[in-house]
């Protein structure tokens, strides 16, 4: 029982990490029809930004409030990078899917290469504030504290995105744009402004995943974003490409399946189990788990 509880919480923590990455991917694909392979780069920028700020930024540090400042810096760096990528790279390529893929794949390779050129390829130890060090004893099980932080952060991001989608004018534009972008412009709305905002929000969530992923893995590496991005894409496909709720459900499912399969079978089989689930979903429900509900919605 204690093992199941431990696996469940760590699986939820991993799922939370996937959700932070996949939610941005889902938003960007849903509204903008852009398969953003550069999303992992925003994660890496967030992770390295946090790591760098913890040591160098005045007011930031590896513990307490200073770490929160470092995370805020990392998230700001990822957000800025995402906005710049949308404005400079994606905007001239709307409707040109092949070119978008080439450009974003190029960025996904260039950013880790740049990080590696500056800080090397070796994993760098990530600061861990005292608050999330060690484990909490719960029902006789020692659960790492950082998992709770990840779960809380993902829940907060889910709530924030839900509020954004359902309560703000930009959210309204996003939900309408998912269905018919041309008609949104025909109402006099500059949908490109929403594109930049959505890209920035997606980048912020990915950068936060980078910052908190550093806590989860204990290190940062230039290619961390690339490997996590693969699972984030799987989550988006399983959950339904335009559904935030589907994305959350799929994130949890993928995180749990990985943890349980790795523990109860052979280490590494968890990844294969996730791919099998992906194949089953594609064969039986091509639009993902929430296909019917999410055909025209992001919330």
């Amino acid at each position: 029982m204690s093992t199941v509880l431990l696996l469940a919480v760590t699986g939820l923590g991993l799922g939370a990490l996937y959700f932070l990455i996949a939610s941005g991917l889902s938003l960007i694909f849903g509204l903008m029809d852009v398969l953003n392979f550069a999303h992992g780069a925003f994660l890496a920028i967030g992770a390295y930004g946090t790591w760098w700020a913890a040591d160098h930024l005045p007011g930031a540090g590896p513990a307490g409030f200073g770490f929160a400042v470092a995370v805020a810096f990392g998230v700001a760096a990822g957000t800025l990078a995402a906005a710049l990528v949308e404005l400079c790279v994606i905007r001239p390529l709307y409707g040109r899917h092949r070119e978008q893929i080439l450009a974003t794949v190029g960025l996904s390779l260039a950013v880790p290469a740049l990080l590696q050129a500056v800080w090397g390829a070796d994993p760098l130890p990530f600061p861990k504030p005292g608050l999330v060090r060690g484990a909490v004893s719960f029902l006789g099980v020692n659960i790492p504290r950082d998992r709770f932080l990840l779960i809380l952060a993902a829940a907060a991001v889910f709530a924030a995105l839900w509020l954004f989608n359902s309560r703000t004018r930009y959210g309204l534009i996003v939900r309408a744009g998912v269905q018919d972008r041309a008609m949104v412009t025909a109402l006099g709305i500059d949908v490109r402004r929403s594109f930049t905002l959505v890209f920035a929000i997606g980048g912020a969530a990915a950068a936060l995943a980078g910052s908190l992923g550093g806590l989860y893995f204990g290190v940062v590496t230039p290619t961390q974003g690339l490997s996590l991005l693969i699972f984030a894409f799987i989550v988006v496909v399983i959950g339904g490409t335009t559904s935030l709720t589907g994305c959350a459900i799929a994130s949890v499912a993928v995180g749990l399946i990985q943890q349980f399969a790795n523990y109860y079978t052979v280490a590494g089989l968890g990844d294969i189990a996730v791919v099998i689930v992906l194949a089953l979903v594609l064969l039986t429900r091509q639009g993902g788990l929430t296909a019917r509900k999410s055909a025209e919605r992001v919330a």
């Binding site: 309204l172 269905q179 041309a182 025909a186 109402l187 919605r297």
Partner: protein
């Protein structure tokens, strides 16, 4: 045509879609009052003309609105100059509620004309929280027209508002278009000649991507032979036949 400067003017519009030359030099003007009907058989380029005016399809030529060249402007900037648009397929966002569809169309905060919209279409107020995708075709058309009337625009472009509607709904929609035309100039794409006869002052007839007739609407509609030649409709319909009768 009015002697005053036209509100909307298109000159030599050409549109190619997937290799087909859909519009072949369309030129037309819409005066700053009354209803201008854009007529023609199915597939002659009426909807493409409207979409070209709004920049929704790539086109060559020149479009000006209130004397300003808007050819190079993006669609949202063209519409923001004061154009309400009801597309042929209604353009309703089915996953949004009725209220959200209307709220999305608000361009100037604090100024939307909800009173007018709800007076014309009381059902929209009663169904404010209903997902628009669950409305009937007639209710969706009311929502599309209501949405276009929400802002105090200077021109209303309405593309086939009665298409596919039951006769009772056609009358309601026709009333709404007529009421709207009392407030704002309208460019009306319509095949229902009863509605055209009731509302239109000017008529522009398209055939095979070209303008083949421009002039007062009553003069055209009273000439049954000409209507038959230009629009391909039977004499009875041209002379004011049953409501809902459409061109071929």
């Amino acid at each position: 045509m009015s002697a005053a400067a036209p509100l909307l003017e298109a000159a030599d519009l050409h549109v190619w879609i997937e290799g087909s030359h859909i519009l072949q030099g369309v030129s037309l003007t819409v005066p700053d009052h009354g209803v201008t009907a854009l007529l023609g058989r199915n597939g002659v380029g009426k909807t493409t003309t409207v979409r070209a005016l709004l920049g929704l399809v790539p086109r060559t030529g020149r479009v000006s609105f209130d004397g300003e060249d808007i050819t190079a402007r993006p669609t949202h900037a063209i519409v923001s100059r004061g154009i309400g648009y009801v597309p042929e397929e209604r353009g309703i966002f089915s996953a949004l509620t009725v209220a959200e569809n209307l709220r999305l169309a608000e361009r100037r905060p604090g100024a939307p004309r909800y009173a007018l919209v709800h007076e014309l279409f009381p059902e929209l107020a009663a169904r404010a929280d209903q997902p628009a995708g669950t409305l009937s075709g007639g209710q969706q058309q009311m929502l599309a027209i209501g949405r276009a009337l929400l802002n105090d625009d200077r021109l209303l472009i309405v593309d086939e508002p009665t298409k596919g509607l039951a006769p009772r709904i056609v009358r309601e929609v026709a009333d709404a278009v007529a009421r709207a035309a009392e407030r704002v100039p309208v460019l009306l794409v319509e095949q229902n000649l009863s509605l055209v006869r009731r509302t239109a002052d000017q008529a522009v007839v398209l055939d095979a991507g070209r303008v083949v007739h421009t002039g007062p609407a009553p003069g055209l509609l009273d000439d049954a032979d000409r209507v038959r030649a230009l629009l391909g409709v039977a004499r009875a319909a041209a002379a004011g036949g049953p409501e809902g009768r459409r061109t071929a």
